[in-house]
Symmetry: C2
Subunit: 553 residues, 2 copies
């Protein structure tokens, strides 16, 4: 196989471990802290996790390893969307496991959790692992989105574990996957199957974080990749001085990615879903907010700009949510048939006008025709509107164009407004992990093995103090149940890890809020450039502005 | 102004000059070679450039500087689309000019050639230049697309030159801009205005190259940026194993960018416009070619892939060109009115069916409806189809989907075909220049000053032997007229620099051709990763595969 010069060099990179894990497996001792409680709904969570609830926080320290020596056969699973660094979690896990004993075995289950259920696997050896060190992607074993939920699936997973003599499973995934890890840990504990389960916090979305998990892996690399591109586009905009670029970035449930990119690149506009929801902003208000920046800049002769739009933004707009619900209702079941049979769009439009409440029709009315049609004509197999297909970067560009036309007629705007659209998502999920993610992930994997060796289950591998150099990082573990609460999902109360939204009183948002008026009217772009893996430490080892601000740096 | 950590470090980078330019301005001597002839139409070109035609090739060598000492007042212009390294051409020019004498003056004309016509300028000093060293973008003075063509414009340019006491103008641009540089040089020479004109070869498209110019600047950085993204997407495709990604890359008149990206990333498919034209391929044939790869891979269980589509591809498809010409004819002048008044798309469609030749209607018929409508409904102010707005990445994805549906019905295809679309252009034009482009551009600018000091005009700054380390580069100059021939432009025969298309018997295409069957059916992706400015030399100093192959390396 041909590999690129960078890949060749990155295979040689030696990830940095936290200082306390640097003395070798035999010199890692454990310190137990306080027993834990879930963040909310303690009684309910406790009742659902009788065997794994209330365990103690763990920190590793330098000292003699007191764990009982036993042969470890560990399975590892990549779950959900790709994030840079997944391969390093596996190589860290492998290295620790083999350092403890060459007889230990690491098995990779293929294609996500279904690999455990269906017993599709590979056994790793040195050559296998060595080909994937410090590389992006999840192609080492693939990933998948299956959840292990049914009794049948649990039994199948147990049978696979038994067949291989598994002592532990490591699940690398986001909030849902780690919730699933906790459920599996409880199942194995309840069935005394002798299989521990450890989770590792992954997601480029950055929404798996809390008092214990400072950030999920992949967020650093992905946002650096998007920020590279946004910065390049800003510089292009500032050179050509003729386009407004509307740039959508991944992140449906939270706007961490958009916010971090804004902190890195200082665009004219960045929408934050959580703020839109909190202020109950309407589409029209948002469009006016952007149009204000366009108009102010136009007055100064700057008919160009950059706006960052989080992928999930429309789902945060309350009136849009209502509109979607009404459309789904309007076309539910048999009603879709009558609609579909109407011969022309004009007749369909009339049907819609009559079917929606006046308030929702007003929202519908201001949408560009392309999106109006999309809402009604491209529905999923259950007949629901496919909100994720809405090209919100184009939606807002068009809404703003309409606002500007109104202003032009009123004589309050005289500029030129030409737009370009971009969407960055797939570009960042499989980049070579930044040094930070390479180190962090390797440490998460190495640390996961230490948790296994010391017999813990239902824990998330935890590395903290991440805004400091790696030698000062702190390694340990936290019961997943501590991060859980009860939430309504598909009509049922479920125990889940609480998703982290952008906090409007948190320091990252506050910093953004304090500067955005200036960014909107002036040109304050910063150009981060491509991720650097070599060179000066302030260029190649710094993590996100979000984390630095959260840590008060 | 806040600047990023990378920018802070890049400002300190010292670009590498060709060995022969490293001894200081006073130690650069000139060697004249043979008198030159234009590549074609010698008599016509000679007649059009009586004062600047037939000059000798120039090479610089180590030796005493024998140029006559005079105060130089040089104007510099950025022309056309952005390309990484423009700022370095200016800083190289500035450094040489100031090294020759602190009294020399460098003036930047703002917003492209119109800055010279309208006398919009800035005078550079050390602090000004220092803030832009090794950065991307053209924001130092902006760029523009005005050509200096009319007698009035020439006179205005001459007046500006006289006002500032200009001794020379450096024009940084692509083939058209450098053609314009030659015309301006001839004008100044004919009018004995004492102003020399030197060009520098810029364009990310890579289509300004010939026997003398090995490559235009910016091509290296832009293709590295696109290749980073394509590689990341390939890795994502190979991890998730569920999407075919259709990726359009910039480059309307030639497919060098697509080809270089393909050589860097080894995708399953890469279309090359020049091949499509040479083989007179139809849309249907192209779609079948892609569908073959999709089907072959599906049979092996690989329902994913990556296809690179050059931006200008449809303009290379002969039948599509005919269709566009017929549409333009069908709606010319008054005829558009009758068409526009037809109330429904069905009636318009009927009008189209009757109006096109049978052959062109067949082409029209297979287009997705969205593109059919675009061709007729979104025309430019002259009523012409806006071919550049056609989203060819979506066009081919849809055509392939249709082909696959036919095959599914025929029982010859059983896979799944889900697509994602991307367009990379603006992301690469303003990236921080790679070390190669930083060095090359700085050398071009430095060298341009040497040509000025030795009194040459109508020359292109020429740095060659570029596939070797910089100390082996060769600096000199070549009369622009040598690269010219006569071409039909807007109904007139014009002297122009011949545009370089992808040569189907050239080594880069041949290499691609020899490997693409394997790339189409197997997964041979390579992942170049982000441009590196630091680190091992094979990672941070290599230029393009195109150049390496052309040089037989």
């Amino acid at each position: 196989m041909e590999i690129s010069p960078l890949q060749k060099e990155r295979l040689k990179y030696e990830p940095k471990l936290p200082g306390m894990l640097r003395h070798g497996v035999s010199e890692i001792s454990v310190q137990e802290g306080e027993a834990t409680q879930s963040v909310a709904d303690q009684e309910k969570i406790k009742a659902l996790f009788p065997n794994t609830y209330g365990k103690k926080e763990i920190t590793f320290v330098k000292g003699a390893n007191t764990s009982s020596a036993k042969k470890q056969v560990v399975g590892v699973i990549l779950s959900g969307g790709q994030a840079p660094g997944g391969h390093n979690v596996i190589s860290g896990l492998y290295d620790a496991l083999k350092a403890a004993s060459r007889d230990n075995v690491l098995i990779g289950f293929k294609g996500g959790p279904s690999g455990l259920v269906n017993d599709e696997y590979v056994e790793f050896d040195d050559a296998f692992i060595d080909a994937y060190r410090n590389t992006g992607g999840f192609d080492i074993i693939g990933s998948g989105r299956t959840k292990i939920e049914t009794e049948e699936q649990f039994k199948a997973a147990e049978a696979t574990a038994k067949k291989h003599g598994l002592t532990a499973v490591v699940i690398i995934g986001g909030d849902d996957s780690n919730t699933n890890a906790a459920v599996l840990a409880e199942y194995f504990a309840a069935h005394k199957s002798g299989v521990q389960v450890i989770g590792c916090p992954k997601t480029i979305d950055g929404d798996l974080k809390n008092d214990d998990i400072e950030c999920s892996f992949g967020f650093d690399t992905a946002t650096k990749t998007y920020s590279e591109l946004i910065g390049n586009i800003e510089r292009d905009a500032n050179s050509a001085k003729k386009y407004w670029h509307f740039i959508k970035v991944m992140g449906r449930s939270a706007s961490h990615v958009a916010l971090e990119c804004a902190l890195e690149t200082q665009p004219n506009i960045c929408l934050i879903g959580e703020e839109v929801a909190a202020k109950k902003m309407s589409l029209s208000q948002i469009a006016d907010y952007i149009a204000d920046s366009v108009a102010t800049r136009a007055e100064k002769g700057m008919n160009f700009g950059v706006a960052i739009i989080p992928e999930g933004i429309v789902e945060f707009v309350p009136e849009f949510g209502t509109l979607i619900a009404e459309i789904n209702e309007l076309l539910a079941g048999e009603k879709a048939k009558a609609f579909n049979e109407l011969p022309s769009w004009n007749e369909k439009y009339e049907f819609i006008r009559k079917g929606l409440t006046g308030k929702s029709f007003k929202v519908f009315e201001i949408l560009p025709e392309g999106i109006q049609k999309q809402l009604f004509l491209e529905r999923d197999p259950h007949g629901n509107v496919q909100v994720s297909l809405i090209e919100s970067e184009k939606l807002f560009a068009e809404l703003v164009a309409n606002k500007l036309e109104e202003r032009r007629k009123a004589g309050t705007y005289h500029g030129s407004f030409k737009t370009q659209h971009h969407f960055f998502g797939y570009e960042g999920r499989c980049a070579f992990p930044s040094n930070f993610d390479a180190d962090y992930c390797y440490s998460l994997g190495y640390n996961a093995f230490m948790l296994i060796q010391y017999g813990y289950t239902g824990y998330l591998s935890k590395i903290s103090n991440l805004s400091k150099p790696a030698d000062q990082w702190v390694a340990g573990g936290m019961p997943i149940t501590k991060m859980m609460n009860m939430e309504r999902r598909n009509g049922e109360d479920k125990p889940v890890i609480r998703k982290a939204l952008v906090e409007l009183d948190g320091k990252p948002f506050r910093y953004f809020e304090a500067h955005r008026a200036e960014w909107a009217s002036e040109t304050c772009y910063t150009y981060p450039g491509a991720i650097q893996y070599y060179g000066p430490s302030d260029v190649c080892d710094l993590t996100t502005k979000t984390l630095a601000l959260e840590k008060g740096e």
